[in-house]
């Protein structure tokens, strides 16, 4: 079982061993390039696959068959979707701000990829082992707000502008409860490094110590990725597709890629910070447990999407500022009290 657990670490070590000095610049560069390509592939495959899973799940909830023509029970549908998207005409409307219009999807994908860099997929399987892990992740993912605003403004379309402004309002409001809910975990583990946080959950996953924070994180995470019930950025029934209205073909594909990449990233953080990362009973390797836990969180997010209806924008802001934010502050306070009491007990009992 240990061999399976360390499968990818051993492969990386073997590749390093091919170089004369296994920590030279050349070795590091090679490993980094391979990891980068792997991450990109993971993101693309996840996005394609998740879009199909989402449709299947949605139709299962509504008692419809879902895509069932291509491949066994329709599981090759994503190939058709990808080919269709690649083959579509790239329409750039006449009076758009061309630079911003083209940059917006690229920034969004780039930001998501950068955020993937610090995610711990298993023991020792993190692309960049940053000590500032979680801070870096939150900082980078808040740049995606800017990309949506660029897309909304540059499209020269009132619907897109409305969508872009709604995106700014929503994403800024929900970042604060997101941050504060993760602060409780950081207070317990005294580190920002994601791998260390996961290792600190060896005995008990933090969801039992921080249940409120988990719920707040999940809600704020769904809001950050613009999924229902917080998806009035891409209102569809009101503002057609918000900032994505004027994008067609591969540019729109990049937006979808970034959205599903964000979904995966959010659930990876949820799993790492609350659900114990790669720890699990011994009969499966660690990284497989990790994948199963991500599946669980993504399943939860999809379930919420297809059950609830959309919230109105002022209810949404009210919810973020007047309900989630005080709750997350209460959580921090309780965590602090808990740590203080725990330390006192350890002092009394241990000393």
């Amino acid at each position: 079982m240990d061999a399976f657990n360390n499968l990818f670490v051993n492969i990386a070590a073997a590749i390093r061993g091919l170089f004369a000095d296994s920590h030279s610049l050349g070795a590091d560069l090679t490993i980094n390039i391979i990891v980068f390509i792997l991450l990109f592939l993971i993101m693309v495959v996840a996005a394609l696959f998740l879009s199909l899973v989402e449709r299947k799940f949605a139709h299962w909830v509504s008692q419809r068959p879902g895509p069932n023509r291509l491949g066994p029970h329709g599981w090759f549908q994503f190939i058709a979707d990808a080919v269709k998207m690649l083959g579509k005409e790239d329409i750039t409307p006449a009076n758009v701000d061309k630079f911003l219009f083209k940059m917006a999807p690229m920034i969004l994908v780039g930001v998501t990829l950068m955020a993937f860099g610090v995610l711990p997929f298993g023991k020792g399987m993190v692309a960049i082992n940053l000590d500032l892990g979680i801070v870096y992740f939150l900082a980078v993912s808040s740049i995606s707000t800017l990309a949506l605003l660029m897309a909304g403004w540059a499209s020269n379309n009132k619907y897109s502008l409305l969508g872009g402004l709604r995106a700014v309002a929503q994403m800024i409001s929900y970042e604060i409860p997101l941050l504060f809910s993760l602060l409780g975990v950081v207070m317990i583990t005294q580190t920002f490094n994601l791998s260390s946080i996961v290792e600190a959950q060896k005995s008990v996953p933090f969801i039992f110590l921080q249940p409120l924070a988990f719920v707040i994180y999940l809600i704020a995470g769904i809001a950050e990725t613009n999924r229902a019930p917080f998806d009035q950025v891409q209102g569809e029934q009101e503002i057609v597709a918000g900032p994505f209205t004027e994008y067609s073909g591969l540019r729109w594909g990049l937006f979808m890629l970034a959205e599903y990449g964000n979904v995966v990233a959010t659930s990876v953080i949820a799993v790492s910070m609350f659900l114990g990362g790669w720890y699990g009973p011994e009969f499966l390797p660690g990284w497989l447990w990790f994948i199963l836990k991500i599946w669980l969180v993504i399943f939860l997010m999809m379930w919420v999407r297809w059950t609830f209806v959309r919230m109105r924008i002022d209810h949404l802001m009210h919810f973020a500022w007047k309900i989630l934010l005080p709750l997350s502050l209460v959580n921090i306070f309780l965590t602090g009290m808990g740590i203080y009491v725990y330390d006192q007990l350890i002092l009394r009992i241990g000393g």
């Binding site: 009035q232 919230m311 924008i313 002022d314």
Partner: protein
């Protein structure tokens, strides 16, 4: 009012839009997210049915009537054939009357199901939408079994109905009626009981009672503002006076009540259908009507309670085989005025919800 330095702008929610229930265009004047004025611009589906009626015989016009409120297929022709029968003073056989009631109420249920479904779809509730359409499919199967066409069966004739229903109709109808109460519990749970849906719809789009009467609103929109008025009870047509059913009235005047009222009306229609199924006699389905229908000179204004509102037929006959004037007063056309009257001050997302609760269908609005 605008804050210093901001500007009002107008958006065109054009004829092609995911949520305007058909080819309906509105010019929406906005101040940020708040709507200040809405100008509806209709006529994109105008087919000139009233003009066409003047060059068709009375029987030739019946298929056109089905295309008015195409979601409640057979119900439209009910008013028309009853108006012509009034002109000609025809008596319709009993079995035909019961069959007419059955088809009309099935059309009403189908239309209300679409209204609830699209009301939920407009706030991104995909699941109630597919549940409602699943049940609507069974009604459309019943129509197809009888007349071949799903949405516009073209089944009624002047003097009765075109032919008798096949043998598998009654058992299929009975099993549909037995399954419906459980399905309506599902809708209550997933849509009407959903807290987010309630917060989107309660106290949104208030239509006060006096304004509703002044705007000549009819149908379920009027009953959700507290006025107890239903043509089936006020001026019964056909054999509606033999059935025992209530008129649901709600007093909230808001969007939630307008949606909920239609669910309650589905329950009442199911009651009527059960009674019709129990009491329907055997017999002929068509009266002895002359080959060429030539009503005597006269005028008649006959109204029925369409699912969308009141549908009035003003038919003027000049003694020939073609009418001199067929005037169709449709509920949805007059109800459009409700939108610009109550929209000021609500947000764009409420505009979509209020619009869905008005239950328009463009076939009726544009004739």
């Amino acid at each position: 009012m605008t804050i210093e330095g901001t500007q009002e702008y107008s958006i065109n929610m054009g004829p092609q839009h995911p949520s305007t229930h058909g080819v309906f265009r509105m010019v929406v004047h906005l101040d940020g997210e708040v709507v200040t004025k809405v100008e509806p611009k209709i006529g994109y589906l105008h087919r000139g049915l009233e003009k066409m009626a003047e060059s068709r015989t009375y029987t030739q016009f019946i298929p056109y009537t089905d295309r008015l409120d195409y979601l409640a297929g057979p119900h439209n022709s009910l008013g028309y054939v009853q108006a012509v029968e009034k002109l000609m003073d025809l008596e319709v056989p009993e079995r035909a009357e019961y069959l007419r009631v059955i088809f009309a109420e099935l059309g009403r249920i189908a239309s209300h199901l679409v209204m609830i479904a699209s009301g939920s779809l407009d706030i991104c509730g995909w699941t109630p939408w597919s549940y409602c359409f699943r049940d609507r499919e069974r009604i459309l199967d019943l129509f197809e079994m009888t007349a071949g066409n799903r949405m516009t069966p073209n089944y009624f004739r002047i003097g009765g109905v075109s032919h008798d229903v096949p043998d598998e109709f009654m058992p299929a109808l009975k099993s549909f009626l037995d399954d419906m109460p459980e399905n309506m519990e599902e809708y209550l749970g997933i849509f009407f009981g959903n807290e987010i849906a309630q917060s989107r719809m309660k106290s949104v789009g208030i239509l006060p009672k006096e304004l509703a009467e002044n705007l000549l609103i009819t149908g379920a929109n009027l009953r959700a503002s507290g006025v107890q008025y239903d043509i089936r009870k006020a001026e019964p047509y056909g054999i509606y006076d033999r059935f025992d059913f209530n008129i649901p009235v709600l007093y909230g005047c808001d969007t939630y009540d307008r949606h909920l009222l239609r669910l309650l009306e589905i329950q009442e229609s199911i009651k009527i259908l059960r009674q019709a199924l129990r009491d329907i006699p055997e017999g002929p389905v068509m009266a002895k009507v002359p080959k060429v229908i030539k009503p005597p000179i006269g005028k008649v204004y006959h109204r029925v309670e369409n699912p969308k509102g009141e549908m009035g037929w003003y038919i003027v006959s000049n003694g020939t085989t073609k009418p001199a004037r067929v005037r169709i007063r449709t509920g949805a056309f007059v109800n459009v005025q409700m939108l610009s009257a109550i929209i000021a001050g609500w947000k764009i997302q409420d505009l979509v919800t209020i619009f869905a609760s008005m239950d328009l269908v463009l076939g009726e609005v544009d004739k």
